[in-house]
Structures are given as C-alpha cells and as structure tokens.
C-alpha cells in the first residue's frame, strides 16, 4: 500500500493513500466537527454528500476551504483545521443551518442527544442574525405508527436517504424539491404510511436531529401503570439488555439483564417477562415448519424451499410490498413479540384469572417496526391487541431516568415465571445469525433424535451482510443463508425468484447487525463497532445460560403439555401463526 505524508495543524502524519483529511486528522487525535458525514465502518456504510460544509479545513494552495470528509490526502499536503478563517466559516455556516431550524429544543425528542445541538454548544453560536426576517423551510408533520417526521428539523444530511435507498433498498425516502425547500421525503410528500416504508427505523437511527424520531408511547404506558384496575405485564426483547446500559454510562457490550428486570419491577409492572421465552416458542413452531418442509423435500414431494424466517416485522413489510409473488415462502410463524402477546392474553390471563381486556401487555423492543406490528389487525381479538404498546430501548431508558432511578444502583433480579424462563437460544435472537443458530440447535436434535455435542455454530456468526454456511445434520447438508439489512435480503430474494437459490433456510433481519442495530436502540452516532459489542454480549449471555436449546426450556414444554398440544397444532396455528398480505402498489386503469 502506498503511504502519503502530510501535515495537519503543524503535526506530521503518514496515512495510506486514499485516506481522507478527516480520517488522517482523527489519527492525530484531531476531531474535526462533522454533521452530514457518517461512517458505519463495520457495516461498510458511508454517507458523505459533503453537503453540510461544517467539516471544512484550510488546505495550503487551494482557493477555497475543503470538506475534510471527502477530500483525499495528497503527498506534502499542508492542512489547518482551526485557523480563524476556518472557525469563522464553520460558525457562519452553522448559523445558516440554525437559522433554518426550529429552536424548540426543550420539547424535541432528540434534545440532549442531538448532533446539531452538540455543534451549537461547541461553536457557541449565540445569535441568529436577522432572525425575524429569516424564512424557514417548513413542512407538515407526518405521523405513522412507528416514526414521526418533523422535516422542519431536517438539515439535508442525507443519512436517512442513504439508509433507505443504498442500505435497505426500500426507496421510501428521497431528496425532493430544489434549493431552499429541498428535503428528504416520500413520493409526493405523502405520509409514510402510504409509502413503501417498512418502519425499520434505520432513518431514525442515523438522523442527527429531531427530524426523524420514534413515536413516543410512554404516556400511554404511564397511564396504564397508574390504572389500578389493570394488570400490566412486560416482555423485553433480547437485544434490549445488550444496549440499555449504554444510556447509563456502561461501556457498549455490557449486558444489564438483571438490573433491567429490577428497574422494570420498580416502575410498577405486575410481571416482568422475557421475549426470549417467546423466542424459544418461535423456534418450536418455525423449527417444526422447517423440518416439515425438509421432510417433504427429502421425500421428493413438491415443497417451497428455502424457508425464510419471519420474526422481523420490517422484513415482513418489505416482502409484502416488494415480493407479493413470494408470500408462501416465509415461515408463517408470528414474531416472538406477537407469540408472547397471544400466549399472555390467553394462557397466562387464564392462569392468573384476569380478563383479556384488563391485561395490558407491553413490550420493550430495540425496534420501531414493532410499534406498527402490534397494531396489525391480524394480531387483535375483538379489537383488543395481543400486545398493547411497544416501547423502544431509548424510551425505556428515558422512563427509568425520569423515575429517578439509576440502573447502576439496581440489584440484579430474575424474570418472573412462567413467561420469563428462557434459553441461550432465545437470547441470541437479538443478533444476525442468532435465529437460525437457535433453529439449528433444535432442528438437529429433533431431526436426528441425538444430542448435539457442540452447541456453538461459529460459521453462522459474524457481521458480513450476506453469509452462507452449511450444517451437517447427521449426514444431511443443511444449507443456510443469512442476510441482515434489507438490501442484502433483496439479493437473496432475487436469487430465489430467479430459481438460483440453493438454500434450505434463510434468516433475514431488516436492520444492519440484526436487532442489536435496531431503530429503537440507543443512538450509535456513527460508532458502528458498538453493534458488534452488543452482539458479543448476547453470545456471552447465551454461553452462560444453563439451558441453551429452545426445546429444553421447561416452561415451553409445560406450555405445550398444558395448553398448545404440540407444535403446529390447531391451537398453535390459531395463536402463533399468521398470514401475509399483498401490499404492492397497483396502478389502476380505467377504460
């Protein structure tokens, strides 16, 4: 590799050719402020439209200031990142941006966690000149079940556009209009609900300001918790425990399961349960479905393969919209969140003798699509939803702080029973590759009737966008595909459509990294290594669990014995499976 020597702020540095000034400065410990630039290095996602012009620096011999995020270093280059010319330019440009940005930080969902606010603090902008005559670019606020778009706060960093188009290939958002009124929006500036949005929330996860935010369900939750007539129970998704600690000063990758349970109990939930339990249940149903299809396949009967996982609501939206011709390929198993809700409002409600309408089921999710999912008509009985509210990891962190609790001072407590019992297989649902690994653990033992000696399937783990592996199941080579990020999922789907796919089973998660990188997680602010650390935490927790295979979960066994019968039974079908709807855009014609 060729190396290039240059001088930044009087310090010499040597970096590989093709490095940007921004990265070279970073190597010297000089942090140049940025706004639009975002580099999710571990995901191979880079957004650098060079549009905000906050990261400009002075380069000797160049007439204008250069954007450090997108200017490559050159041998002998002399760069200054902090001359008065640079500072004045940055401050003036920031004032421009702020002059077209609402000042209602006090009630903004991103307040305290906003990259624009941080910049304003750093640069000390104290006044917007001529504010009274400065027109603002203003747009209608758009509410959807998961995401709120308040584009008055858009700074045109284009990060969301990159996520929605380049990474997710959903194409719901695009830059529209020109000049002062340009903004990122769906076609015809229509509501998200009418667009091809899947609510994956990756736009929210990267938005530097409050332009894109989650729907806040904590007010309903507080009302429910204060209603003495209601029994309020909570389920927490696996990825939440691996990230919640970040909001309380723990280093990324610290698992805070026990403290989270304690905090939830102190918030007033009557029962604190675990979505991991439902994840184990999912494996029973989905695994059985897989084995059923495989058996047919081995007998030479016509059957749809590969089977695709269906626990990710954003992914479900994606194929319902974009692959309506392939609705019979995914597993019919509901997601763990919804399985939990269905069991809670039947089996558990009966058990504690509470009427369905008096039982409130809340979920804590790393995800924004879950907010939408629990509102789907398929998951309601007489209008009463199986899961009432879905709260994101960020909202939970906020609620805990609001209740004057510091997670760090919480004791470690255990989940309640029966819906709190889970296995290591359920825990790893929260990361890419985890669902399929859990499924393989069970499928192996059920299929071969032999004990699985080595539970860890390293070949299924990792952060590559598309992975493939084969697992030897007693002589049968099970071919597995894994994709995270909907753009990667699309590639596998196109192969299936073209009849080129050789997989038996494919796991798909909509978010890069899987649920650990979900749209409801603490903001990573571009530090993509955080996602790997969260995944590692889940694998650690899995390794520490006494039971690591879903079908060994005693509470699952009991559930089938006492209530469901067996996997794929009629009752299981009714409560734990679903159907998919063709949501493709149809162009109507008239004669």
């Amino acid at each position: 590799m060729d190396f290039v020597k240059l001088i930044i702020d009087n310090k010499q540095v040597e970096v590989p050719a093709g490095t940007t000034i921004y990265k070279a400065a970073h190597q010297l410990g000089i942090e140049i402020p940025v706004l639009c630039y975002m580099n999710l290095e571990h995901m191979n996602i880079e957004n650098k439209p060079a549009g905000c012009r906050i990261c400009v620096v002075e380069v000797e011999g160049r007439r204008n200031l250069a954007p450090s995020c997108s200017t490559d270093v050159v041998e002998g280059m002399v760069v200054r990142t902090n001359t008065m010319r640079v500072l004045n330019a940055r401050r003036t440009v920031l004032e421009f941006i702020l002059s077209d940005h609402p000042k209602d930080c006090l009630v903004c969902p991103k307040s305290g966690n906003c990259e624009l606010q941080d910049l304003a603090v750093k640069m000390g902008v104290r006044k917007i000149h001529n504010e009274e005559i400065s027109q603002m670019s203003s747009y209608r606020v758009d509410y959807s079940p998961s995401i709120i778009r308040d584009l008055d706060k858009c700074v045109m960093c284009r990060r969301c556009e990159t996520m929605c188009n380049d990474v997710q290939t959903v194409g719901a958002l695009h830059a529209v209009n020109r000049g002062f009124m340009s903004v990122v929006a769906p076609a015809f500036e229509m509501d998200l609900v009418k667009s091809t949005c899947t609510y994956c929330g990756q736009c929210v996860a990267v938005c530097p300001t409050g332009a894109l935010a989650e729907v806040d369900n904590t007010p309903q939750l507080i009302r429910a918790l204060s209603d003495t007539k209601k029994t309020v129970i909570v389920q927490t998704a696996p990825a939440v425990r691996a990230a919640l600690g970040e909001e309380f000063g723990y280093p990324a990758g610290t698992s805070v399961t026990g403290k989270m349970v304690a905090a939830l109990r102190r918030l007033g939930f009557d029962y604190v349960f675990d979505t991991d339990f439902a994840a184990d249940l999912t494996i029973m149903e989905e695994g059985t479905e897989l084995l059923g299809r495989l058996e047919k396949h081995l007998k030479g009967e016509p059957v749809k393969l590969p089977i695709l996982t269906s626990c990710c609501p954003s992914w479900v939206n994606f194929f319902e919209q974009q692959y309506p011709d392939m609705l019979d390929i995914p597993s019919t198993a509901r997601s763990p969140q919804q399985m939990f809700g269905a069991i809670a409002k039947t089996y558990f409600a009966d058990k504690i003798n509470v009427k369905r309408e008096d039982l409130i089921v809340v979920s804590i999710m790393p995800c924004l699509a879950k907010k939408y999912e629990c509102q789907r008509e398929e998951f309601k009985t007489d209008g009463n939803p199986d899961v009432d509210y879905s709260i994101s990891t960020r909202e939970l962190a906020h609620l805990i702080k609001e209740a004057n609790m510091d997670l760090r001072n919480m004791p470690d407590e255990d989940f309640d029973n029966p819906l709190g019992e889970s296995t290591g297989a359920g825990v790893i649902f929260g990361t890419t590759g985890g669902v399929i690994e859990a499924a393989v653990r069970t499928a192996y033992e059920v299929f071969t009737k032999k004990k699985l000696e080595k539970v860890d399937f390293q070949q299924l783990r990792g952060m590559e966008g598309i992975r493939s592996a084969s697992v030897d199941i007693d002589g049968f080579e099970l071919k597995i595909g894994i994709a995270h990020g909907l753009g990667n999922a699309r590639k596998l789907l196109e192969d299936i459509r073209a009849g080129k796919s050789e997989y038996h089973a494919i796991e798909i998660m909509a978010c890069p990294g899987g649920c650990v990188g979900g749209g409801g997680q603490p903001l990573h602010h571009g530090h993509s290594e955080i996602l790997q650390k969260r995944a590692a935490a889940l694998y650690r927790e899995d390794a520490e669990k006494p039971i690591r295979k879903s079908h060994d979960n005693p509470m699952i066994i009991e559930l089938y014995e006492k209530f469901l019968g067996h996997p794929m039974s009629e009752k299981a079908h009714h409560l734990l499976h679903t159907h998919y709807v063709d949501k493709a855009t149809v162009i109507k014609t008239i004669e």
């Binding site: 188009n165 194409g171 695009h174 209009n177 020109r178 929006a185 076609a187 091809t196 855009t585």
Partner: protein, 163 residues
C-alpha cells in the same frame, strides 16, 4: 399506495409502457422518459410517475425527487394558453417585472398557477435568447417582443380575456 386524483386510462398507460420500452426500461433514461411523458400528457401527474417508476424499476420517491428538481417538469396542468414572461437579466433591466406584475394583477394568478377555468397559466422563464426584443412574453409558441405593461391587457384580449 398513492392516492390518485384521476385514474389513468388504459390507453395512456399503454403509451407510457411503450415509451419506457423504447428506452429499454433503463433507470438511467428516467429524464428522457419524463420528457416524453410530459410531451404526451402536458404534465406529470402522480399516476404517470407511478407507471414510470414501476416500468423503470426506480423508487417512486426518486421519480418524484427528479420531477421536483427540474423546473421544466410540472405536476400542474398548464392552461390552454400558457403565458411565460421572460425574467432573464436583459428582460429584467428592460422592465419585465412590471409586465409580470400586470399579468398577475389582471389574471389574479401567481407565478406557476393555472386559472381555475384552465384557460390561462402564468410562468416565468429565464432567457429565450431573444434579448433584442426584451422584455419578451410568450403565449404558447407565439412571441411578443418589447412588451410594456399597458400592452398586457391587449395581448390577453387576443385570447378571449374579458376581465
């Protein structure tokens, strides 16, 4: 799914599909396809953009993003007599603004609007290259040169204006 103000006639859809096919349904031909579509329909309503997006396999939001970027493309049908006042610099310094104001006043239209009865629409354009005739006004294909504000009413009356 976008709400359509008007549904698309089958024949019109077929025309569009044919245009896209002429350009081999290549996403890179989006602008060429939009030009042709606007030639056919006079404007680019939502339904037309839907068909183009689906035929070229381009996200609808992107089609809209492109349509709204270029001032030549419009989603508003133009009037039977589209009026364009040149506001290029040469016309500006020779009084185009007063002429434009008079059109606005008489037609009760803002720039970019089409009258409710669909007869007149008012637009600005930048330099038609007839600076010798500044200020210049175009009504459809017809050019009026050296227009002053008191001639505006007379020009409109040629097209049946009675206001």
């Amino acid at each position: 799914m976008a709400e359509s103000k008007v549904a698309l006639k089958r024949a019109d859809k077929e025309k569009l599909v044919e245009v896209c096919r002429e350009f081999n349904n290549k996403p890179g031909e989006l602008i060429n396809v939009l030009h042709r579509a606007q030639n056919i329909f006079g404007y680019l309503p939502a339904e037309v953009q839907e068909v183009i997006a689906s035929e070229l396999n381009v996200a609808l939001a992107k089609v809209y993003g492109v349509v709204t970027f270029y001032s030549y493309f419009t989603m508003i049908p133009r009037g039977k007599y589209p009026i364009s006042v040149c506001t290029g610099t040469a016309c500006y310094v020779r009084g185009a603004e007063k002429v434009l104001d008079e059109f606005k006043r008489l037609l009760k239209l803002e720039v970019g609007e089409t009258a409710a009865d669909g007869v007149f629409s008012l637009n600005c354009l930048r330099c038609v290259g007839a600076c010798g005739l500044a200020p210049v006004v175009l009504v459809g294909e017809k050019t009026y040169g050296r227009v002053s504000s008191d001639q505006v009413r007379k020009i409109l009356e040629e097209y049946g204006y009675e206001g």
